[in-house]
């Protein structure tokens, strides 16, 4: 039976744990802040400060990716993650450029909140999965 994913490295395990924790924190933060804004209708500086809070979680996720790239001793795994990041950045930016153009000239509705964030991580996960399957090793 082919070993598709192989044994994760220590750095990969830490990466998944950290990313999972920050992801949950992000979802919790967005949920709490969204509820607060719906109930209290803050405006001005307070609303700006609240809007900035989820952005810190996004920065934390990028830091987690950076830590993985620094801690991972297997350079091929690092290379695969960099490829996945490039695909995710490229796809997300291209999609947003396409949607923005249509919004400018066809009056289509804006995408839902946090759309880019979701697309970025989904594409990154998909590319990582594709690379893992493409580079799978079979029993010798």
């Amino acid at each position: 039976m082919p070993a598709i994913c192989g044994k994760p490295t220590k750095a990969a395990r830490r990466y998944m744990e950290r990313l999972g924790a920050i992801g949950l924190l992000y979802l919790g933060t967005v949920w709490v802040i969204t509820r607060y804004v719906h109930e209290h209708h803050p405006t001005g500086a307070k609303l700006f400060m609240l809007a900035a809070v989820p952005a810190f979680d996004v920065i934390a996720m990028i830091v987690v990716v950076g830590l993985y790239l620094r801690e991972e001793v297997d350079e091929f795994k690092r290379y695969q993650l960099v490829v996945a990041i490039l695909w995710a950045v490229g796809f997300t930016l291209a999609l947003m450029a396409f949607i923005d153009f249509l919004r400018s000239y066809q009056s289509i509705a804006a995408p839902p909140p946090f759309f880019e964030f979701t697309v970025f991580w989904i594409v990154m996960a998909l590319v990582q999965l594709i690379l893992t399957v493409r580079n799978r090793v079979r029993d010798e």
Binding site: A3, G6, K7, T9, V73, D74, E75, F76, K77, Y79, T132, N135, R136, V137, E140
Partner: protein, 64 residues
């Protein structure tokens, strides 16, 4: 870049996993290098050379 990794590994009777363990990389890395999907960095190429007791140019050759 072409390499003789598979041949050298076979001569020594090492599995991909055994070589990966010696190099402290994943088996996927060894497989990707052997199949030419990935060219290793200079430090990893030096580690390979040390493990096989050869010079780098005896393992890798420029495809051009």
């Amino acid at each position: 870049m072409n390499n003789r990794l598979k041949e050298l590994r076979a001569q020594r009777g090492w599995s991909q996993q055994a070589l990966a363990d010696k190099l402290e990389v994943s088996r996927q890395s060894v497989n990707a290098i052997e199949t030419g999907k990935y060219d290793p960095s200079l430090p990893l190429a030096f580690r390979m050379a040390r493990i096989f007791g050869l010079r780098i140019e005896e393992i890798f050759e420029d495809a051009a």
